[in-house]
C-alpha cells in the first residue's frame, strides 16, 4: 500500500501520513482542548478525592437508588484484523498497518477472520449466554474521519450471544458477598481508527492502524448499584477475557474500554431516571470514582428538586478534577440506518463447533474461586489466587505436585507475594517454579529441612532459581534429626554456660530460648527445633 501512502503524501506534503485537514470547530474537538487545560488547573485535587472514595460510598443517601449499566468494548487479540490480513500492534507508527480493506478503498471487500467468531463464541459461553446459531453482520452508518467506509461493520438485531450473566465476588474490604450481573448481549464489530490532533489545532490527522481491529461489545443489564460493583464487574470481565485468551484486556492501551450509564431514581419508583453516559474511564479505580461522583451529582440534583437538570448526555470523567463534565448532549436518538451487511454471508454456527469450543474452555475465574473455597481457603486467599490467571496457574501447578492447598496458599500469599511486590515482579518473572515450591513444602513437611531454612531457600529460589535438593546439598542444609547429635550439642551448650544453667534452675526459665539459640547457632540452624527443645528441656530440668 506504499503507493497510496505516497499519493496522499503528495496531496498534503506537509504531513507524514494519510490524513485530513480538519478545523477544530467541531464539538468533539472542543472537549479535547477543554480537557487539556482543566486537568492542568485541577491536578492538586486528585489525592483528596481518592482518599474519600470509601467514605463517599457510605454517605450515599438512602432515599435514592442508583442504576448502572455498562457497555464494554474488548479488543480481540487475533493475529490479524477482523476483515483483512493486517496485523495490529498497539503503538505502531501511524498508518503502517493498513491495506485497501481497512482503509475503505473503492472496490475493497471485507472477509471475516474466523477467529473473531471463535473468540465471540468463547466469551458468549463464558458469560453463560444463549448463542445465536444464525446471526449476521449489519452496517452502522455515520460519518467520521476515523471511520474509513462511512459505516462500521457491527451486529444489530441478532447479536451472536445474549441473555447471560457474570458472577462476581466483591472483595472483603468493600463488604464482600457474591453478586450476579446480567449480560444483555455480546456482539462482534470492528474498531475505528484514531484522530491525532496537532498542537496548534489547525488540523487533525487520521491514523487507521486500529481501523478494522475486531471488538466484542458486551452490554450488561442495569444491575450495578455503585461504583465498586461496576468496577468489580469490569475487573471480572477483564479476568475472563484474559483467562480465555481472547484479549489482553489492557485498559491503558484501550483493549478494554468501559462506558457506563448511570441514572438515579427515588427508592420505590419503578421508572428509571434519565440516564447519563460516562466515558473516558481508564482504570477500574477511575470507573468506580466516576460512577460514585455521578451518582452523588444526580442525587444532589434530585434532592434539590432539580432532577430536570439531569439530561441525556455523554459526560467525560476528568481524572484531574475528579469529576464528570458534559462532553456532548444527545439531540434525540442518532439514526444509524442499520441494515444487513451485504458483503458478508450470515454467521452460521454448528452445534459441533460450539461443543468443541465449550469442551476446550479453560476453568474460569468463578469456577476456580468456588473450587478454592471448597478446599477450605479463606475468601481473601481465594480472590488473590483465582483473580490473576497466572497466579492461579502457579497455584494449581503446585497443587498438582501434591502440595497441601493451605500451605501453598500461605507461601504464595505471604513470602512470594511480598517478594513480587518488593521487586515489582509478576509471578511469571520469578525464578521459582511450582515444582520446586511443592518440593520445598514437602522437604519441610518430611523434616528434611526446618521451616527457617525453608524460608531461606525460598528467597534463593525466587531470586536465583535452581532446585531445592541442589541448594540443600550445596549448602549442607539438611536438618539434624539425630537425637544423639542434638544431645551432644545440647550438652556442649549447657557445659559452656554454667552461669545461665544456674540461673535457669533458679527459676529464670525464659533462658530456655537462650540455650535453644546457642544450639541452633552451633548447628547452623539445621537442628530440628522440636527435637532440640525436647532434649534441651529434659537436660535442663534433670
Amino acid at each position: 500500500m506504499s503507493y497510496t501512502i505516497f499519493r496522499t503524501f503528495q496531496l498534503h506534503p506537509f504531513l507524514l501520513y494519510p490524513t485530513s485537514i480538519l478545523k477544530l470547530q467541531n464539538r468533539f474537538f472542543h472537549s479535547t482542548t477543554i480537557k487539556a487545560t482543566q486537568s492542568q488547573q485541577t491536578q492538586t485535587q486528585t489525592k483528596h478525592s481518592t482518599s474519600t472514595q470509601s467514605k463517599k460510598l457510605n454517605n450515599l443517601p438512602k432515599d435514592y437508588e442508583p442504576i448502572i449499566g455498562i457497555e464494554t468494548h474488548v479488543q480481540l487479540s487475533t493475529n490479524t484484523k477482523a476483515f483483512c490480513n493486517c496485523p495490529y500492534n498497539y503503538g505502531s507508527f501511524p498508518n503502517t498497518s493498513i491495506c485497501p480493506v481497512c482503509m475503505g478503498l473503492p472496490g475493497a471487500l471485507p472477509v471475516l477472520n474466523s477467529k473473531v467468531i471463535e473468540f465471540a463464541v468463547k466469551l458468549g459461553l463464558a458469560l453463560n449466554c444463549e448463542l445465536a446459531f444464525d446471526s449476521k453482520f449489519d452496517r452502522k452508518q455515520y460519518f467520521y474521519p476515523d471511520l474509513p467506509k462511512g459505516y462500521q461493520i457491527s451486529q444489530f438485531d441478532v447479536p451472536i450471544a445474549s441473555s447471560g450473566f457474570l458472577d462476581v465476588d466483591i472483595p472483603l474490604e468493600y463488604g464482600g458477598g457474591h453478586k450476579r450481573f446480567g449480560i444483555t448481549r455480546v456482539h462482534m464489530e470492528e474498531d475505528a481508527g484514531k484522530l491525532l490532533h496537532t498542537e496548534n489545532g489547525n488540523y487533525s490527522q487520521v491514523d487507521l492502524n486500529r481501523a478494522g481491529v475486531p471488538l466484542l461489545e458486551i452490554v450488561s443489564e442495569p444491575d450495578m448499584r455503585n461504583g465498586i460493583e461496576a468496577a468489580e464487574y469490569a475487573a471480572e470481565l477483564q479476568r475472563l477475557v484474559r483467562y480465555l485468551g481472547v484479549s489482553n484486556g489492557n485498559m491503558q492501551e484501550g483493549s478494554l474500554r468501559c462506558d457506563v450509564n448511570v441514572s438515579v431514581r427515588p427508592i420505590g419508583q419503578s421508572k428509571f431516571g434519565t440516564k447519563v453516559e460516562v466515558k473516558n474511564l481508564n482504570s477500574f479505580a477511575s470507573m468506580s470514582r466516576a460512577i460514585d461522583f455521578e451518582i452523588a451529582r444526580q442525587v444532589q440534583l434530585h434532592s434539590q428538586g432539580q432532577a430536570d437538570q439531569i439530561v441525556q448526555e455523554t459526560r467525560s470523567w476528568e481524572e484531574g478534577s475528579q469529576r464528570t463534565i458534559t462532553m456532548r448532549k444527545k439531540e434525540g436518538l442518532a439514526d444509524y440506518r442499520y441494515f444487513p451487511e451485504p458483503d458478508l454471508p450470515s454467521v452460521i454456527l454448528y452445534q459441533e463447533y460450539v461443543d468443541g469450543i465449550k469442551n476446550s474452555l479453560p476453568e474460569l475465574p468463578e469456577g476456580k474461586r468456588r473450587r478454592y473455597e471448597k478446599m477450605g481457603l479463606g475468601m481473601q486467599d481465594v480472590l488473590f489466587l483465582a483473580n490473576d490467571k497466572n497466579i492461579a496457574e502457579f497455584f494449581d501447578a503446585t497443587l498438582a505436585k501434591g502440595a497441601d492447598a493451605k500451605l501453598v496458599a500461605n507461601w504464595i500469599m505471604s513470602d512470594i507475594a511480598g517478594f513480587m511486590k518488593n521487586e515489582k515482579l509478576t509471578i511469571n518473572d520469578i525464578k521459582l517454579t511450582p515444582e520446586e515450591l511443592a518440593e520445598l513444602i514437602a522437604s519441610i513437611k518430611d523434616g528434611t529441612i526446618s521451616g527457617k531454612i525453608g524460608k531461606e531457600i525460598l528467597f534463593e529460589l525466587l531470586a536465583e532459581g535452581g532446585s531445592v535438593k541442589e541448594i540443600i546439598e550445596k549448602k549442607d542444609l539438611v536438618q539434624i534429626t539425630d537425637p544423639v547429635e542434638i544431645e551432644k550439642m545440647v550438652d556442649k551448650a549447657i557445659a559452656d554456660n554454667p552461669k545461665q544453667v544456674e540461673q535457669y534452675r533458679g527459676g529464670k526459665t525464659k533462658l530456655q530460648g537462650f540455650f535453644a539459640g546457642q544450639v541452633m547457632k552451633a548447628s547452623k540452624g539445621k537442628a530440628n527445633p522440636g527435637l532440640l527443645n525436647k532434649i534441651l528441656l529434659e537436660k535442663l530440668n534433670s
Partner: protein, 537 residues
C-alpha cells in the same frame, strides 16, 4: 476473414483452459457451409494467428491504435487509454515469447477493455465520478488480475454512468459515449463504454458490471453479446460497489464464445470476496457444438419459456417482433417454446430501486474526501464532507443517495427496505419455479432499442422503467446472456435488438451452449455497426 483449417491449438495452453479440439473449432465458426453472418470467436482466431505467426502482436497493436484514432473521437468509449508505447511494449514482449517458444496464456494478445469502476493498478479508476478524478488504485481487481495473468492486454478504461447509476452513460462526470450504430444515440448503460468498445471493435472483449442490467441493456443497444453471471460467480473484489447484493462483473464479446472465454478466465472463488462462490467453474466451451456438426434440430427437447410480462404493453413493437422471431428460431432448432407468466415481474422494478439505492447510499459513504479522491478545503468537518461530496458527486448519484438514505431511515425501514427484501424473496421463488418448468427463460433485454442522446435525460422515471427487463434477474441472482437477435428499423442499417436468456443459478454453461447455437444458426443478421463494417472486412 481468413479461412483457418482447424483449431488444433498449436501450443499447450494453461491446463485450466484447455480447449478440446473436437468441440469448438474455428473451422466451425469461420467456415460455415454457406456465406454466413455467424460471428467468429475473435479470441480463438487471434490466438491461432499469433501462434501460427500469421499475425504479430505488434501488428495487432498497431492496427488497434489506428482504429482507436479513427473511432474514438466519434464514440468516446474510453475515459483512459494507456500510452501507445506501453501497449507496444506488451506486444513486443508477447512476440518475443512466442518466438522463443514460451508458453503463452489463453488470453495472450487479447485486447480487453475494462469498465472504469473496476480497479486497475496501472490506470486511473474513477467509476465515472468527479470525486475520484485522478484516483489510481493500489491494486488490480481480481477479474483484471486474472485477465492479465492469462495474457490479456488491458487497452483502456471505459466510460460509464457515474458509479453505475444510469442507463445511457449520460450520467458520466466526464463524457457521453455514442452508440456505434448511430452516434446520435446512447450506447446504453451503465457499461455503455464497454459495450460500444466491443461493438466498434475497439477491443476484443470487455469487462462491465451489472447491478440491474448495466451489461445486458448496453449489449442490446450496441448489438453485442453481454453476459451477466450468477451472483457470486465472479469476484467483486476491486469492483467499486454500487449495490453489493446485486453487483456482478460481466463480459462483453462480439460472439457468445468470446464472452464465454472471458467469463471462464475471471470466474471462480476468490478469498478476497466472501460472497464469491466456491462452485466449480466448468470449461464452458467444451460443451459447444460446432456449427457444421449440428443436427437439424440441435436443441431438441429444450424447454424455453417466453416471459409474457416482457412482451406486453409498453414494449416497443419492433422489439416484440424481434423476440417473437427469436422464439421461432428456437422452435426451428427443436426447442419447445411457450409463454410463461411471472406475476411478480412488475414488482421487480420498485423492489430493485429501493434495495439498490439503499445499499448505494451506504456504499458511497466512503467517498468523503478524507483518505483519497478530491477533498474540498473547509473550515469545519461537516462542511468538508458536504462540500467534497456536493462538488464530487453528480446529480443522479446524489438523488439516489438521498432516496436510499430515506429508505433506510428509522421509521421507514420496514415500509421500504424490509418490504423490498420480502418482494425479492417472492421474485426469487417465482423464478425458481419457472426454471423448474423451463430450461431457459427468454425476454427482450430492453423495452426498446437505443434511444437518442438526451431523450430521457430529464425523465429519470422513464429511464428507470427501461430497466424492467433486467432488474428481476439481479434480484434473483441468476445468470443471463444477452445476444443480438434482430433489428428494428432505423436508417440504412437499423438498430440491434437483444434477446435475454435467463438460466438457473451457476448454469452459465447451458446459456452459452444454447446461445452459441442460436447465434451460429441465425441468418441474415450481421451485427457489425456501420462505423467499422468496412475496416472489419
Amino acid at each position: 476473414m481468413k479461412m483457418l483449417s482447424t483449431l488444433q491449438t498449436p501450443r499447450s495452453t494453461l491446463s485450466r483452459f484447455s480447449l478440446p479440439s473436437s468441440t469448438i473449432t474455428t473451422q466451425a465458426i469461420l467456415t460455415h457451409p454457406q456465406p454466413t453472418t455467424a460471428p467468429p470467436s475473435q479470441i480463438l482466431t487471434l490466438r491461432h494467428s499469433l501462434l501460427t505467426n500469421t499475425l504479430s502482436a505488434t501488428d495487432l497493436i498497431q492496427s488497434h491504435l489506428t482504429r482507436i484514432r479513427l473511432t474514438e473521437p466519434h464514440l468516446r468509449s474510453f475515459l483512459h487509454l494507456p500510452s501507445d508505447q506501453s501497449l507496444l511494449d506488451q506486444a513486443h514482449d508477447l512476440d518475443r515469447r512466442i518466438a522463443a517458444g514460451e508458453e503463452v496464456g489463453p488470453l495472450a494478445g487479447v485486447l480487453v477493455a475494462v469498465k472504469d469502476n473496476i480497479c486497475t493498478a496501472d490506470m486511473p479508476s474513477t467509476g465515472g465520478s468527479r470525486i475520484l478524478d485522478g484516483y489510481r488504485p493500489p491494486f488490480d481487481a481480481t477479474a483484471v488480475k486474472r485477465v492479465k495473468e492469462l495474457g490479456g492486454i488491458v487497452v483502456g478504461k471505459t466510460n460509464m454512468d457515474e458509479f453505475g447509476m444510469g442507463s445511457t452513460t449520460e450520467a458520466s462526470a466526464f463524457q457521453v459515449t455514442a452508440n456505434p450504430w448511430d452516434v446520435s444515440r446512447v450506447p446504453g448503460g451503465s457499461s455503455g463504454g464497454s459495450a460500444a468498445a466491443v461493438s466498434a471493435r475497439q477491443c476484443v472483449v470487455s469487462l462491465g458490471s451489472d447491478t440491474g442490467g448495466s451489461v445486458r441493456q448496453p449489449a442490446s443497444f450496441c448489438g453485442v453479446v453481454g453476459l451477466k453471471p450468477t451472483y457470486g460467480r465472479v469476484s467483486r473484489f476491486g469492483l467499486m460497489a454500487y449495490a453489493s447484493s446485486l453487483d456482478a462483473i460481466g463480459c462483453f464479446g462480439s460472439s457468445v464464445a468470446d464472452a464465454g472465454i472471458l467469463l471462464h478466465a475471471i470466474a471462480g472463488h476468490d478469498r478476497f470476496d466472501a460472497t464469491s462462490s466456491k462452485q466449480e467453474v466448468p470449461n464452458f466451451l467444451s460443451h459447444f457444438d460446432s456449427a457444421s456438426s449440428l443436427e437439424s434440430k440441435p436443441l431438441k427437447g429444450l424447454r424455453i419459456g417466453l416471459i409474457r410480462e416482457t412482451i406486453e404493453d409498453g414494449v416497443d413493437a419492433g422489439v416484440v417482433s424481434a423476440i417473437r422471431d427469436a422464439a421461432s428460431h428456437f422452435e426451428a432448432l427443436g426447442c419447445s417454446v411457450s409463454e410463461v407468466s411471472l406475476p411478480s415481474f412488475s414488482l421487480g422494478l420498485p423492489a430493485y430501486y429501493v434495495l439498490a439505492l439503499s445499499e448505494s447510499s451506504s456504499n458511497l459513504s466512503r467517498y468523503d474526501g478524507i483518505r483519497y479522491g478530491n477533498q474540498v478545503y473547509a473550515e469545519e468537518l461537516n462542511s468538508l464532507y458536504g462540500e467534497s461530496r456536493a462538488k464530487g458527486l453528480g446529480s443522479e448519484v446524489k438523488m439516489r443517495i438521498l432516496m436510499g438514505t430515506y429508505a433506510l431511515s428509522a421509521g421507514y425501514y420496514d415500509a421500504y427496505y424490509k418490504r423490498a427484501q420480502q418482494v425479492r424473496t417472492i421474485i426469487r421463488n417465482s423464478f425458481k419455479e419457472a426454471l423448474d418448468q423451463y430450461d431457459i427463460l427468454i425476454s427482450p433485454a430492453a423495452p426498446s432499442a437505443a434511444y437518442k442522446i438526451g431523450e430521457k435525460k430529464n425523465d429519470p422515471l422513464a429511464m428507470y422503467a427501461g430497466d424492467i427487463m433486467t432488474v428481476n434477474v439481479n434480484l434473483a441472482g441468476l445468470p443471463a446472456l444477452v445476444l443480438p437477435c434482430g433489428f428494428i428499423e432505423n436508417g440504412p442499417t437499423g438498430l440491434p435488438v437483444g434477446l435475454q436468456m435467463i438460466g438457473a443459478a451457476f448454469n452459465e454453461g447451458e446459456l452459452l451452449r444454447v446461445g452459441h447455437i442460436f447465434e451460429q444458426t441465425l441468418e441474415n443478421c450481421r451485427f457489425v455497426p456501420p462505423i467499422v463494417a468496412d475496416s472489419v472486412e
